[in-house]
């Protein structure tokens, strides 16, 4: 867009009058435009400084202190980080659980979403209804999802084990079994895969049909069309989806927090990074220690995002690569 000269008058007023009032007459139109830009975005800038940048800096400082919220923070150097990474067994569980959950959920979510989007992309009547049904679970609040899935996963009279028993399978105790609670959480999250499906479907529908026509002329089979046309053309959407779902999964909180309140839950098998941070900060008043957890999580998210971005040059295909 060409930068057009703007005048500084607010609303409909006499131009000269308002410029005198604002004292802006000596400014060039470009300077005035810059002033307007900063004026208009100032609410966001103020929020950025007050609610993000400022707190982030303070949080780094806190992570090097011992602070119980009531006495002034006491500098302890790297103590929090050393304790966290070498001596805190619960944090070890939290890390392992978070990683296992993320590495199960993210790939499964993409594979299933791709499969469903592929089916929905077929030109058949009624696909909109299926799309809506598949999207709906995504909008159910996590609190409600967790409540109902306690009964989906109930060992004896639960929905899932009832279904499995139809095939003669004796299902596990899911949420009560340390070995099955993470797969159970993954299944619960997969219930909400509709959002990824809709993203991928939109991406698929944006693929130019000439590509498929060209592939057909070359005698491509259905499998070829999917792996040689659909998948490469879709890879930027998959890439975006993957980053967002990794970042989201690493910050899982609500499900774990709710399930942990149940005395029957195997806590060590389900504790994750954010719930552990929450406990430290707001149950034990260890604000410094909890801040250190936050920054370890920050680094983990940063590293994972970087890894995915780095790897993307190998597997993500951008259309403009072709044109260059």
């Amino acid at each position: 867009m060409e930068p057009a000269p703007l005048d500084a008058s607010a609303l409909v007023t006499n131009r000269n009058d308002s410029q005198r009032r604002w004292g802006l007459r000596h400014l060039s139109s470009r300077q005035r435009e810059a002033l307007w830009f900063y004026g208009i975005i100032s609410p966001w800038l103020v929020g950025l400084l007050l609610l993000l940048a400022g707190p982030m800096v303070y949080s780094i400082y806190l992570s090097f202190t011992d602070w119980n919220l009531f006495n002034p923070p006491e500098w302890v150097g790297l103590d929090n980080y050393i304790r966290l990474l070498t001596r805190d067994r619960t944090f070890g569980y939290a890390l392992t659980n978070t990683f296992v959950y993320t590495f199960l959920y993210v790939p499964l979510n993409i594979v299933f979403s791709l499969g469903i989007a592929y089916l929905l992309n077929k030109r058949l009547p009624g696909m909109r209804i299926f799309r809506t049904i598949i999207y709906l679970p995504y909008i159910v609040p996590v609190v409600a999802t967790t409540m109902v899935f306690r009964w989906v996963f109930a060992p004896d009279n639960g929905l899932l084990n009832g279904f499995l028993s139809l095939f003669g399978i004796d299902g596990p105790a899911w949420l009560l079994d340390p070995g099955w609670i993470k797969p159970a959480l993954v299944i619960m999250s997969l219930w909400g895969l509709g959002s990824s499906v809709v993203f991928l479907l939109a991406g698929m529908q944006g693929i130019p049909s000439e590509l498929y026509d060209a592939a057909a002329i070359d005698g491509a089979t259905e499998r070829h069309r999917f792996f040689r046309v659909t998948l490469p053309m879709l890879s930027p959407v998959i890439f975006f989806n993957m980053i967002m779902s990794i970042i989201g999964s690493l910050q899982t909180f609500t499900q774990v927090y709710i399930l942990n309140a149940d005395p029957n839950t195997p806590n060590n098998a389900i504790v994750m990074i954010i719930p552990y941070l929450f406990d430290n900060a707001f149950r034990f008043n260890k604000m410094g220690y909890a801040s250190a957890i936050a920054w370890v999580l920050f680094v983990i998210i940063f590293v994972f995002t970087l890894l995915v971005i780095r790897s993307s040059s190998v597997w993500v295909f951008y259309e403009n690569e072709m044109k260059q």
């Binding site: 950025l48 303070y58 709906l136 609190v143």
Partner: protein, 285 residues
């Protein structure tokens, strides 16, 4: 895909999608069924996928039982949601207008920062924010939940900015020639034109705040002030070991938490899918 689909392929596609749909609907049905179960069966934990009892009175009891009083929690949720929507829609649109229509040194860097902030985990700010709100005396009030929306949200600003960039500038130019200032152009020209995306932002803000859990739990402290999402959890928590929560009432509350989300989705799905496509699709370059 311009390809003819054979009968067998159509049949198998429908069969798979139907199976998936049934699996995805079953938990909804279970929620409805448990919410209609009477107290006797609830205590014995006799729940069925297909409702066997129709205790509609459960839906009245959650409003009339004093220590549950779902009505108050719904009001709390609505207060938070409406305040947040007003802030997000107006301020995010305004800031997006700045990013879309004005040039200034440092703008590109600021836009990158805006995108970058979406990646920052809330965990690194929650403790200082808590301390800040505590020192301002805002704990136990809705202020820390509503006020931050009046600084705009990064994702919403990005979404609306993408929309404004695609609007033709002729109307702006014409208004400018007529002596309308930047604020007038926003209010009389841009804001009416961005209605579809502003609707999407309002819907997203509703969805997020209606189901918001962590921060309300933290900042409100007083059980009476909690929004519905937190109240559902409280209702399900047993105070003593061995005691069972009234699962039928917990599911009634879960239903009341879920239904508005479904309603808003059905009335707003046009806007949601459009925003998904324009904001998250391959259009990001």
């Amino acid at each position: 895909m311009n390809r003819r689909i054979g009968f067998a392929e159509a049949l198998s596609t429908y069969a798979i999608l139907a199976a998936i749909s049934v699996a995805l609907i079953a938990p909804f049905l279970l929620m409805v069924s448990i919410s209609l179960t009477n107290d006797t069966s609830t205590v014995q934990m006799k729940f069925h996928l297909i409702p066997q009892e129709f205790e509609f009175n459960n839906y009245v009891r959650v409003f009339t039982t004093p220590n549950i009083d779902i009505g108050r929690h719904i009001l709390n949720s609505l207060t938070i949601v409406i305040g947040s929507i007003i802030g997000q829609v107006i301020v995010s649109s305004f800031v997006a207008y700045g990013f879309a229509r004005f040039n200034a040194p440092g703008k590109n860097v600021l836009f990158l920062i805006l995108l970058g902030t979406m990646m920052i985990p809330g965990a690194v700010t929650i403790i200082p924010q808590f301390a800040l709100y505590r020192s301002l005396g805002w704990l136990g009030t809705f202020t820390p939940l509503i006020l931050p929306n009046f600084f705009g949200g990064a994702f919403n600003i990005f979404l609306i900015r993408q929309f404004i960039v695609r609007l033709p500038t002729e109307l702006d130019e014409a208004a400018r020639t007529d002596g309308v200032g930047p604020l007038g152009i926003f209010w009389y020209i841009i804001f009416p034109l961005i209605r579809p995306i502003a609707m999407a932002v309002a819907i997203f803000t509703f969805q997020f705040n209606w189901s918001w859990f962590l921060e309300p739990l933290l900042y409100l402290q007083d059980a009476d002030k909690m929004p519905l999402a937190v109240a559902v959890r409280t209702l399900s928590a047993t105070t003593s070991a061995g005691a069972t929560p009234m699962w039928n009432l917990v599911m009634v509350a879960s239903m009341l938490l879920t239904l508005p989300m479904l309603l808003v989705f059905f009335f707003g799905q046009k806007y949601i899918f459009e925003a998904n496509i324009s904001g998250g699709g391959p259009a990001i370059k």
